[in-house]
């Protein structure tokens, strides 16, 4: 018994424990990115803000129900209101009003993702580990796409469940494919946001500049949509060719257009307010081209990120 030395040797000892093969590093990177983001309180606030349309609709529908059940006269008004409600449009509005908060969330998650690594030239740390560029980029990308996907899906499912349970007789379930369609467009939106942010983040070495640029692009293209909307509204009759398509030529325009196309609705004023014309009724673009544009933009930005990520800065 006595040959065990009473005092341990705390000097450096080697680690010979298990080492996983490369291929699982992207989840490590993604998990780390999400953990850092979740620490920011603003993110939680934005999550609720992004679902504000659904929340408001829930409150509106709840009160409409209360009023009608209390006095029969109200029932008449409620039936009229319910008839007017086009359910797919509620999801369209829920989805489109979520895009701006989504953009901000994407920036919070991803603006610094590669930019900070560029500044701290942490690329040396990553790529000197058994983790190659593919995993690095995919890890960073998932770190943005996954949270956005979850933040958008949860309110949609809650609203769908509430609608399906209480408003079946008002034709909520008329379009049986409504939920599956939403479950198609939401991942596309997540891919779209994540790819752009990853691409832009890799072009800078400061999160601040990356966010400023992306915000700049967003507002400039948005201004463009505003202009087109204005022109479309003022020339009520026929819609000159470019306007119908250029209307969707902004960051959230592409997504809103894709959502309209997938759900297959012309769109209507929010909250079931009666109004004809106006921007919300610009006809939906064709499905394939708008999705093609969305995916093309995503691929382009991911390629930008791929080219920009280099362990050693080779200067000509």
């Amino acid at each position: 018994m006595s040959n065990i030395k009473p005092i341990a040797d705390l000097s450096y000892r080697n680690y010979d424990g298990p080492l996983k093969k490369p291929g699982s590093r992207w989840w490590v990177i993604a998990k780390n990115g999400i953990r850092i983001a979740l620490k920011k309180m603003a993110l939680w606030g934005l999550m609720f803000v992004s679902a504000w349309y659904y929340l408001v609709m829930l409150v509106v529908l709840f009160f409409v129900q209360q009023i009608t059940s209390s006095n029969p006269a109200g029932a008449q008004a409620m039936k009229a209101f319910m008839e007017r409600l086009v359910w797919p449009d509620q999801f369209l509005h829920g989805f489109s009003y979520a895009q701006l908060p989504m953009l901000i969330i994407a920036l919070m998650l991803g603006a610094g993702s590669i930019a900070n690594d560029n500044r701290a030239n942490a690329m040396l740390v990553y790529l000197s580990k058994p983790c190659d560029k593919r995993e690095y980029l995919f890890g960073k990308w998932i770190g943005i796409a996954l949270p956005i996907l979850v933040i958008m899906v949860v309110p949609t499912i809650i609203f769908y469940a509430y609608g399906a349970l209480t408003f079946r007789e008002y034709g909520f379930l008329k379009d049986a494919w409504l939920l599956p369609k939403m479950l198609v467009i939401i991942p596309i939106a997540a891919i779209f946001h994540a790819s752009i942010v990853v691409g832009i983040s890799s072009m800078f070495n400061q999160a601040r500049n990356a966010s400023a640029t992306y915000a700049g692009i967003y507002f400039i293209t948005n201004f463009f949509t505003l202009l087109m909307g204005g022109i479309w509204a003022s020339s009520r009759g026929e819609t000159p060719f470019p306007v119908k398509h250029l209307f969707y030529a902004s960051i959230d325009g592409v997504l809103i257009g894709a959502c309209k196309a997938i759900i297959g609705t012309k769109g209507s004023a929010p909250f079931g307010i009666q109004s004809q014309g106006g921007m919300s009724q610009v006809p939906a673009p064709a499905v394939v081209p708008i999705l093609g544009v969305a995916l093309l933009i995503s691929v382009v930005f991911v390629l930008i990120a791929w080219r920009k990520i280099r362990a050693v800065e080779v200067i000509g």
């Binding site: 450096y12 680690y15 424990g17 298990p18 080492l19």
Partner: protein
Amino acid sequence: MTAVGFVSYAGELSGMPPAEALRRAHEVLEYCGLGEARYRNVETYSTGMKQRIKLAQALVHGPKLLLLDEPTNGLDPRGREEMLDLVRSVSHGRGVNVIVSSHLLPDIERVCDRVIVVIKGKLRTAGTIKDLKKLAGQPADVELREPNVAFANMLMEKGLTVTPPKGNIYRVQSELPPEELLRVVQRTALESGAQVRGFETAVRTLEEVFLEALTA
């Protein structure tokens, strides 16, 4: 990101399971002398501590080969000493082979056993530092309290070759064994009124080895 977070993240990136990575992160931070600052945010670290955490994240997954690029860059004297001791303690007798690249040759002498000199992409000299520093003919370096010309001349009269002094250090060449040579040197010093403050077998500094390799 805290130090522990960063090092365990680096561990996971190397393939370690999360639990192992965290345990090992604490251990490695302790070795690198960052034990008490392990929960602090890495951005608040001083340059010295940043150099040490770089070493920590390189060691976390128990590498067999460690590549260090200018490990003592930007460190103050005490920081450099600690870093050099750290590198020595990690490598000698621990099965970790270390390659250090640095412009500070005395640092290299302190840490490394072997040296490779690469000039313009080609390998010029290689070998253990002990051999490279050996000087043919075992000359001795005699350090006087202050330079003394008489002392040098007297030595030469006694058949010893003396190179011109660098500061107050004279290099004396002879076939005598060191203790005999010392006696001769000290007797000459007494005669010439000089005071000998140091007597060592002369060695080439690594810098001389480098410069020689350059001109070869």
